[in-house]
Symmetry: C2
Subunit: 188 residues, 2 copies
DNA sequence: AAAGACATGTAAAACGTTACATGATTGC
DNA sequence: GCAATCATGTAACGTTTTACATGTCTTT
């Protein structure tokens, strides 16, 4: 039984679809998954080794040898598939948020409203950029919704779009409230 | 200069408002802040000690001695206020999400749609509950918006309400899509 | 020829959670 | 009297990031 290490499940999930190298896994995480989960080389490679020892994944005996460059493909084992399924079938899930933006805003009263406004604007810019990307993904996935597991990818991306649009609506309202407060402080 | 330890900033922010014990700090975090930031005793007490050594906070010489029970109030120092302000004035903020729910959904293709539906329903229940609480907070804060730092508390709570409502809209859509997929799989 | 992507991995350090240990006080 | 809450703290454990180390291949 795999421990609580969630990176294991990310890796198993990705390998359930196709064989990948550690480097590939990192790329996948960075592109499709990064807005709701992250992972670094420093966690991926050790996890792969540990999981190989546990028999959850195994190295693929490369049929065609790639000259010189070492490149290790991993595939999921039956034991790995069982572990993945077990995790999936447990509907409990821990969602852990760390919004430093909100933390700064919560303590905004210590400084001028202008300081909080800047923090919000910085957040707004970041989200606006990411949202564009997400919408691109979403549009691409919409076209191939019928294939394979694309519904699932589409749903996670839609989640991102929905929440990011909510963020931006909130940014507008928050800035407007803080502008008013700023004026009142300068007048009063 | 304080390190990167964000729990330090949470503590400084809370102490900027009033003197508190470690236990108080934990309670504040659990009530007002917990939906966007968490903290345990195991991180709070060591942080308080470290910050006292750094001169960011200091123990309050309790004027009225409380018999028997040890209870240590901390207050923020000038150095602590400077550190807090410096952090606040840096508008960059790291927001780190870990949605295990989305992770499970992303890999949902490995199992039946029903499995993903259950995961979403579990998420939905949790969010529905939290949303009720947040709306209560929001209503209470709306009445005292003029006082002190209440605008800032109101804004963070509003953020929660906005995003949680977005979550629930998404849950509905996601379930509907997965129901369709389930039917198609059973028919085809 | 140089820059950047490809590719694997290790070591140190930071960080945080969980469980444990201990005991007083308050409310039922 | 008992349970819950108040109150402080430590220790073990596990996870993850960051930086480092090394070298190849591809594109400009």
């Amino acid at each position: 039984m795999a421990k609580d290490r969630k990176i294991d499940m990310v890796i198993l999930g990705l390998l359930a679809h196709e064989n990948l190298t550690g480097y590939d896994i990192k790329k996948r995480i960075d592109s499709a998954i990064s807005f709701f989960w992250k992972g670094s080389f420093g966690s991926i490679y050790p996890a792969l080794n540990a999981m190989e020892e546990e028999g959850l994944v195994q190295k693929v005996s490369s049929s065609e040898e790639i000259k010189g460059r070492e490149k290790i493909f991993y595939e999921i084992t039956d034991k790995g598939k069982r572990a993945l399924t077990l995790w999936l079938e447990d509907s409990k899930a821990v969602n852990d948020m760390k919004y430093e933006t909100l933390l700064k805003l919560f303590f905004g009263g210590v400084a001028d409203p202008g300081v909080s406004i800047k923090t919000i604007e910085s957040f707004e810019r970041e989200i606006t950029q990411s949202l564009e990307l997400l919408k691109l993904y979403q549009a691409n996935l919409e076209r191939v919704l019928e294939q394979d597991d694309h519904v699932y990818y589409y749903l996670t991306v839609s989640f991102g779009v929905e929440t990011y649009e909510g963020y931006l609506r909130w940014c507008k309202e928050a800035k407007s409230l803080l502008y008013k407060l700023d004026k009142k402080k300068q007048d009063g």
